[in-house]
């Protein structure tokens, strides 16, 4: 098991889940770990290749680069970044529901539903310049696909939102 990344997180999916998905897309997996040395006193934290990484995006970018899931040049990476940042924005909004006060819950769920249907999912149905496209069509965009699938699962389970097209 030498070299297997060690994943430090709470006992839950949360912000570590997309990291687990991305490792899986790269054909790897992580071993669970406790809390360790944290740069900003935060989890998720991942020990990988002799480094102690914190910050979800730093971890995701490193794994995506390591397993060649991050596009062939800066322009492809920019496109992948845009799609994944959109998903992370949406995830963050959903996490806010989980930690919200009971009296704010309904309003936050409505906001998630509205933005998911009208802002986020439509962006995945078309290209950055508005043209129709099948966003999962390119192998290089695996990173995007992982985030997308993860999100579909959460949307379906927690918010009753189904994507407008079938998920593979």
């Amino acid at each position: 098991m030498a070299g297997k990344p060690v994943l430090h997180y709470f006992n839950g999916r949360g912000r570590m889940e997309c990291i687990r998905w991305l490792l899986a897309a790269g054909g790897a997996s992580g071993a669970p770990g406790g809390d360790g040395r944290l740069m900003f006193q935060q989890v998720p934290m991942v020990e990988i290749d002799g480094m102690t990484l914190v910050q979800s995006r730093a971890i995701l970018n490193y794994i995506a680069t390591k397993y060649d899931l991050y596009g062939k040049d800066a322009k492809e990476r920019a496109l992948i970044d845009m799609y994944t940042e959109g998903i992370l924005d949406l995830s963050e909004m959903m996490l806010q529901v989980v930690i919200s006060l009971p009296e704010q819950r309904e309003a936050k769920i409505s906001l998630v539903k509205e933005k998911t249907k009208n802002r986020y999912l439509p962006a995945y149905e078309k290209g950055p310049n508005g043209e129709a496209q099948h966003v999962d069509g390119e192998e290089q965009a695996q990173l995007k696909k992982c985030s997308k699938l993860q999100q579909d699962k959460g949307l379906d389970r927690y918010y009753g939102i189904t994507n407008t097209r079938e998920t593979e």
Copy 2:
């Protein structure tokens, strides 16, 4: 001025400010633009190299790559990502103060002050493994430096927090 990036944003600093700083660090500048086609109906948006980029991090990563301000390999980029993500977390907390209700303001400002002094700034005083270091020492970490300087400015002006060491 052919090829000059066009920056679409509100009339203010906000989330576009670190993009302006990073362009300046790369020896470039942007021209102001109105709102345009937005993938997730959001600003900041930047037109650059024939692309329409949204999402702050997608824009920052692209500019950092283009102007060679993003480290020499994946490990250096991971380190830069960690530092900049910390600063973006802090910035986000500060933005929440600006848009908060009057009765929440004081509590949010206290939170910013506490986390800045005890969590974020100390991380910039030492390396990822706790060793003392001068984080601005390496040229490759210019991206980190830009974010840092931007933040010092805001911290000083809005929160009365001065960094524990001198800023160049």
